[in-house]
């Protein structure tokens, strides 16, 4: 079950950047490990992450085996109008996770 925690640092003011933080529960299996029987463990890391602000891409990242488990991403988005941030990511197994957060721009 994909799950994540999102935090938007407030207050959000029009035209100014605000901080977005997200941590995603994911084992980020590197593909370099072997199990107790010595068989290689198949790589399964989040490959692509994208954040959209009212539908438009504002941040994206390509992750790899070098990223620790439960990745924590922190970035800034410039506030335009109230709306919604949507987050979407996909791992090697094809499992897609989504999360959303409401953006309220102070008038």
């Amino acid at each position: 079950m994909p799950d994540a925690r999102v935090n938007l640092a407030g207050p959000v003011r029009r035209g100014e950047p605000f901080e977005v933080r997200i941590s995603i529960r994911h084992a980020m299996e590197t593909g370099y490990r072997v199990d107790d029987a010595g068989r290689p463990v198949t790589r399964n890391v989040i490959r692509a992450f994208v954040c959209r602000y009212n539908g438009a891409d504002v941040f994206s990242a390509q992750l790899s085996s070098g990223i620790a488990a439960n990745p924590y991403l922190r970035f800034f988005v410039t506030a335009r109008e109230s709306g919604e941030l949507t987050f979407e990511w996909t791992d090697d197994a094809g499992v897609r996770g989504t999360e959303r957060a409401a953006v309220v721009v102070a008038t």
Partner: protein, 257 residues
């Protein structure tokens, strides 16, 4: 005369036992041995990866099991009030099972007896999440366990095991965590081995893990046979460690190296 001497000897033995129960040093949380980066990660609930398990636990707390059984919340209500302070008292004697139970075992006992569902395996994500969620409700409260009455036998076994040399290294817990705490073991600082942050997120594990997992890792480290997860001697040690940690605050979910 003989009787007088004997009773004097008994008094001395009792006195010696009490004296050995004293802790030589005041307890220091593992947090104080951690790097500034790790301390910052624990202090920030957004950055603390252990909070992912706490949040999952809060959903499990509300989740209605199949069949007629109630959810955790169905009996206990709001965990913020019902579970506040509970983890600080564990491990504790449980009259229903006539044994000392740690928090994981207590949650499983509730699942089996009240919800009529199979016990969750130790170190399973669900059990870790529920334990972390329940323990999190006591964050900041001082650890205070009962070691008298029916729990005293387990406590004494735990205290004895803590002082027993084990494994190919022939080391007892006390030799690292009392005699050499604060000193270096290769690149690492030896902590006092305090349990107040568990279940904790260890960077080495890349995951949340239980206190039993951490204790088992120490058994592995001294090349001793590891007790099985859920083994009574681990619960005995957990009880002794909790007593020894008093009055450190519960930090769950802590972040450790």
């Amino acid at each position: 005369m003989t009787r007088g001497l004997a009773s004097a000897a008994i008094v001395m033995v009792v006195y010696a036992a009490c004296a050995s129960a004293q802790r030589s040093e005041s307890p220091r949380s593992g947090l104080t041995f951690a790097s500034p980066e790790i301390r910052a990660m624990q202090a920030d609930d957004v950055a603390n990866p252990g909070m992912l398990w706490v949040e999952r636990g809060s959903r499990l707390w509300q989740a209605e099991p199949d069949g007629a059984a109630k959810s955790c919340a169905g009996c206990h209500g709001d965990a913020a009030t019902a579970m506040r302070g509970v983890a600080a008292r564990y491990p504790a004697w449980d009259a229903g099972t006539a044994a000392v139970l740690d928090l994981e075992a207590r949650i499983n006992s509730c699942r089996e007896r009240r919800q009529e569902r199979p016990a969750l395996p130790r170190e399973s994500d669900e059990l870790l999440a529920l334990t972390a969620f329940v323990a999190h409700q006591s964050r900041g409260m001082p650890v205070a366990v009962h070691i008298d009455g029916p729990a005293s036998a387990a406590f004494e076994r735990g205290r004895a095991l803590y002082r027993t040399r084990v494994g190919q290294m022939n080391l007892a817990c006390t030799q690292c965590h009392d005699d050499n705490a604060g000193k270096r073991l290769l690149a690492e600082t030896i902590s006092q081995g305090q349990p107040n942050g568990y279940p904790a997120y260890r960077l080495e594990w890349q995951s949340l893990g239980s206190l039993q997992r951490r204790i088992r890792a120490c058994f592995f480290g001294v090349r001793a046979e590891m007790p099985a997860p859920g083994a009574p001697e681990l619960t005995d040690l957990e009880l002794y460690l909790a007593w020894r940690a008093q009055p450190l605050p519960v930090e769950t979910p802590a972040v450790r190296r």
